[in-house]
């Protein structure tokens, strides 16, 4: 995917009611491809990468400020961070995996939640305005981490045969359909699961960004002569979509982490 042939954003001079002008430039795949800011030996440093690194920086800074020297009687920042931490710990990990087994996985899932949430949040943060998770590489990396984690855990916990039984939902009582069930389970758990895990997050953020860009471009496109009558409609839709995205971003981060927790919980489960 070279940067040379990418079409960037859209032509700002494109307006409605301009004779011989360009039409509405709908957003598309090109909206997710950025011109590299600079290149180091073939490595292209672009906006999503910058935002990903910013995410890391901001999260580290936030949690460092909040938790580096915590107090029994918390300050404001510590309190906010604590409530977020507690939300994931109690609301997701303890609920899904259980307190005893889950405690070990709290750091991973807490990091995942806040990392994904902030990556999603860039979508509506001015100037950034791009959900980093709408580039499949980022959800894929995270889903990969989770996949490796629970696969390793499955075999560690149950041994090779036990692990395979766990993955394939081995259950003697199924009788004749057992091979079929095992095939389906194996396919669904081992092959499809990481893919859906990553794509669920990616597609949501991708679609959300498309909608936001479309209404934003439309607002701009309408701002000419009679078009001013239509522009507000598009603009209101931009606002509505921003609020909706704010909701979806949190939900998707939550869903991703809940699924991760349930995969880990499944790996810990005793084979039937």
């Amino acid at each position: 995917m070279s940067a040379a042939d990418t079409t960037l954003a859209f032509d700002a001079s494109c307006k409605i009611f301009v004779d011989g002008g360009c039409g509405f430039q709908s957003p598309g795949l090109h909206s997710f491809i950025f011109k590299p800011m600079f290149e180091i030996g073939g490595f292209e440093f672009n906006k999503p990468i910058l935002l990903a690194l910013l995410t890391t920086g901001l999260l580290c800074l936030f949690f460092w400020k909040a938790f580096a020297s915590p107090k029994v009687v918390p300050g404001k920042l510590q309190m906010v961070a604590e409530s977020g931490y507690d939300f994931v710990r109690r609301g997701i990990v303890y609920e899904t995996i259980g307190k005893k087994e889950g405690e070990k996985w709290v750091p991973l899932l807490v990091s995942l939640f806040f990392f994904i949430w902030l990556m999603n949040l860039w979508s509506i943060i001015p100037l950034a305005q791009f959900p980093v998770t709408s580039i499949i590489a980022f959800p894929a990396a995270l889903a990969g981490v989770v996949y490796v984690t629970w696969m390793t855990l499955t075999f560690k916990r149950h041994g090779f045969v036990g692990g395979l039984k766990n993955l394939t939902g081995y259950d003697k009582s199924l009788g004749a359909v057992l091979p079929l069930v095992m095939l389906i389970e194996f396919f669904s758990n081992v092959l499809v699961r990481p893919f859906t895990h990553a794509v669920r997050l990616f597609a949501n953020m991708f679609a959300g960004h498309l909608l936001l860009v479309m209404f934003t471009v439309a607002t701009w496109f309408f701002m000419n002569s009679w078009g001013f009558a239509y522009a507000p409609v598009a603009f209101v839709l931009v606002m509505v979509m921003i609020v909706f995205e704010l909701f979806i971003q949190a939900v998707q981060a939550y869903v991703f982490v809940v699924l991760s927790a349930s995969y880990i919980s499944g790996a810990l489960e005793e084979a039937h």
Partner: protein, 188 residues
């Protein structure tokens, strides 16, 4: 799996992760994870545990104080009841003792009164006897002495005595009659 085929064919495929982003994303996440897992979360867990201990410790302390207070209250109540019981008992005892004392004193008084009355009666009786005895002796002697002295003669002789007494009595009678006569004349 149509989607994957399409994805493979097209160059600008949103479903094929570009390598640099994949690696950077992985690193970016692992940095956050490492910092949280190794450094920050253990710290906050410690503090949360401390806070929990502090709160539970406080609650335990309060509970202990509550139990102690209740025990003390029970003790006081028991003591109070005992004291009340004791006071009742003492009062009852004192009342009984008082009643016994009064009864005893009343009996004693009665006894003393009876004694005094009996002593009085005996005294009076004795006095009466002595007096009447003495009187009887004295009356004879005195009367004889008086009579002897009055008549100037010995009344040793019974006949004479009788005469003298009769005469004396006659004289007395006459005197009395004369006296009443003069009195009657004087009155007339």
């Amino acid at each position: 799996m149509n989607l994957l085929q399409i994805a493979a064919e097209e160059e600008q495929n949103p479903l094929v992760p570009p390598m640099p982003e994949l690696v950077i994303g992985l690193i970016a996440f692992l940095i956050v994870f490492a910092l949280l897992a190794k450094k920050l979360l253990p710290r906050i867990n410690e503090v949360l545990e401390e806070r929990r201990a502090a709160i539970e410790g406080g609650m335990e302390k309060a509970e202990a104080a509550q139990i102690e207070a209740e025990q003390t209250l029970d003790q006081y109540k028991a003591q109070l009841a005992e004291a009340r019981h004791e006071a009742n008992r003492l009062r009852e005892e004192a009342r009984e003792q008082g009643a016994a004392l009064i009864a005893e004193m009343r009996a004693e008084g009665q006894r003393q009164r009876d004694e005094i009355i009996a002593a009085g009666h005996a005294q009076v009786e004795a006095d009466k006897k002595t007096a009447s005895l003495a009187l009887r002796q004295d009356v004879g002697t005195l009367a004889t002495e008086l009579a002897g002295r009055l008549v100037g003669e010995s009344l040793e002789d019974h006949a004479r005595q009788t005469r003298v007494v009769d005469r004396f009595l006659d004289e007395l009678e006459a005197k009395a009659a004369a006296q009443s006569g003069t009195k009657a004349e004087a009155g007339a």
